[in-house]
């Protein structure tokens, strides 16, 4: 890698000029690229092969998995593993549950977080610095610190056993990062825009909904993507407040499936993991650049 560093970095833009090179220079160039290609090949194998391995094993019968090497292709392709996984793993229910808690949480996070970010950055009042800091402190607090009192409170109020505890905790847990990111984004917008709106007769609330919120479209999508993955992939809250079978989210459902059924039925277990991964893969292929940027921005701001 170090050897190739000088050559490629100097030639900007990297042009293909093979006809101008002597054969010796071409050979040297190819030689210098070898470590790079080895690194890339290694990365591709390490990242993609376990996933490929999972897919081929999802089509095997138990006998096939137990008696043949697991890297071999299936003897016969058992498509019914997917039907079994879907039925036995209650995947329809768990996916629905995950959507039922994720979507409202995202809507609340975006609405409340953007409004608060706007109020804290654009509007002027006493104590707004303190309130922003208060939100910021929430980024550091581990979920473990709040679940026990909340379990008590939700138990007393009869909300345990419904979707509400999960939705409320995800919403509140997502607010610190969202408020902070939104405040940062609003900082880049001149306040005069909102002041001008009031000259035209709009209240500040109206200015937020008609101008501020729509202007944040891209930022909102970024924040929503970050929060989607945090909520969709959460296990702790889902385990404690969605542990009842009818409330199992996809993560809890998969965990139970693996323990109860999948320990001895490999094909359907691999199929269940594949189904779980596939939905995310489709989403990822559509949005990958934005997902990467969004998660990285969330991390640095957090």
């Amino acid at each position: 890698m170090t050897a190739t560093l000088d050559t490629t970095a100097v030639h900007t833009p990297r042009a293909f000029e093979p006809h101008r090179r002597t054969p010796g220079a071409v050979a040297l160039h190819v030689l210098r690229r070898i470590p790079t290609w080895l690194t890339i090949t290694f990365l591709i194998i390490v990242t993609a092969y376990p996933l490929f391995w999972m897919v081929i094993n999802s089509f095997k019968s138990n006998a096939d998995f137990l008696s043949n090497p697991s890297y071999a292709m299936p003897d016969e392709w058992h498509w019914e593993n997917y039907a079994i996984a879907w039925e036995t793993g209650n995947l329809a229910t768990t996916i629905t549950n995950s959507l039922i808690v994720t979507v409202p949480s995202l809507v609340f996070i975006v609405l409340l977080g953007t409004a608060a970010g706007f109020a804290l950055e654009v509007l002027v009042f006493k104590g707004r610095g303190t309130i922003l800091l208060l939100f910021l402190a929430g980024i550091m607090i581990p979920g473990q610190m709040v679940i026990l009192p909340l379990f008590n409170a939700f138990f007393q109020s009869g909300l345990n056993g419904t979707y509400w505890p999960m939705i409320l905790i995800y919403t509140a847990g997502g607010l610190p990062l969202t408020v902070f990111m939104m405040a940062t984004y609003f900082r880049a917008i001149p306040r005069e825009i909102f002041e001008a709106a009031t000259i035209d007769g709009a209240s500040m609330t109206r200015a937020f909904f008609s101008i501020g919120f729509p202007m944040m479209r891209n930022a909102i999508l970024t924040v929503a993507i970050v929060q989607f993955f945090l909520i969709w992939n959460d296990l702790l809250i889902a385990l404690i407040f969605g542990g009842k079978k009818s409330l199992n989210t996809i993560q809890v459902g998969l965990l139970n499936f693996s323990g109860e059924y999948g320990a001895i039925n490999y094909g359907p277990l691999f199929a269940a993991i594949c189904i779980t991964v596939f939905g995310i893969l489709v989403l990822y292929l559509f949005l990958n650049q934005r997902i990467m940027k969004g998660l990285a921005a969330g991390a640095v701001k957090g």
Partner: protein, 293 residues
């Protein structure tokens, strides 16, 4: 114009909902949780005041000692791998692959968005030894070594946890640090090269110092995340065999929900929170000092 931006009604309407939810679900429970540390019991049996007993128990509890050291060991090792390998990836993207790095970036990042439980079950099967060898043991046997019961002993289970968590997160640190490297102006590197800087000195005197801020941010983010490790360990080993791979988060979960002691669970959660706070402040302070020098 100040009066317009100081619109009371707008402030109330826009800020209150978020502040209310945040206060009720995060701030008050944090204080409440602190209060719970002086009690024992749970929501069904009721709570009983027991003074500072939870704290003395915390100091002498061998399980807490084990979980504390496991958490620390895990956090330090995984953070090092995440940031160092992530830095390597970022350098590969920025200086070697340059514009063609998109495909590699996209592929290596993919595990980051996958559900942890799915990955953990996949790794259980990859490292399985009974009733049939998983992929890793098959490879070991094929090169003439013997199959290892990876998840059957604490030390080897720890290795699997580290490999899995680095595998699923390193693409993220690659992209994170890469986005920091993008901020280094190209002409600085170019002019240093004209002045005769070789690859190593270029890295040592230009790239590394200029990427320190993003490295510190990565360290803070990584160590904060790894101290809170729960999902991957819970789904991969369940803390076992025995208690050998139990981090504080999992011990806290067990204390509260299996042994039904919410008071002691809160005390462990407090220890965890304090750890996060100390680490963040420590790194924050040291990064400050570095920037002023």
């Amino acid at each position: 114009m100040k009066s317009v931006l100081g619109d009371r009604k707008a402030i109330m309407l826009l800020l209150t909902p978020a502040l209310l939810v945040y206060t009720l679900i995060i701030l008050i429970p944090v204080l409440w949780s602190f209060g719970l540390t002086f009690f024992t019991g749970n929501v069904l049996t009721g709570f009983e005041f027991n003074g500072i007993e939870n704290f003395t128990r915390l100091l002498t509890d061998p399980y807490v000692h084990d979980a504390f050291w496991f958490t620390l060991k895990y956090a330090v090792i995984v953070t090092l791998f995440q940031v160092v390998l992530g830095y390597g990836l970022a350098m590969l993207y920025q200086f070697v692959l340059r514009r063609s790095s998109v495909i590699v970036r996209t592929l290596v990042f993919f595990p980051v968005v996958l559900p942890t439980v799915a990955i953990a079950i996949l790794y259980q099967k990859l490292f399985q030894s009974a009733p049939t060898d998983g992929l890793v043991n098959e490879l070991l046997v094929n090169v003439g070594l013997s199959s290892v019961d990876w998840l059957g002993a604490g030390d080897t289970a720890f290795i699997v946890i580290v490999i899995m968590d680095v595998w699923r997160s390193v693409g993220f640190y690659g992209v994170l640090i890469f986005s920091g490297l993008l901020d280094i102006p190209e002409d600085i590197i170019e002019s240093a090269r004209i002045d005769g800087a070789k690859t190593f000195s270029l890295f040592r005197y230009i790239v590394l110092p200029m990427s320190l801020p993003i490295l510190f941010a990565s360290f803070i983010f990584s160590i904060n995340g790894t101290i809170k490790v729960f999902d991957s360990v819970f789904a991969l080993t369940g803390g076992g065999p025995g208690n050998s791979t139990t981090p504080l988060t999992l011990y806290m979960y067990r204390t509260a929900f299996q042994f039904s002691d919410f008071g002691y669970g809160s005390t462990i959660a407090l220890l965890l929170t304090v750890m996060c706070l100390i680490v963040t402040l420590f790194i924050f302070k040291s990064s400050r000092r570095d920037n002023t020098v």
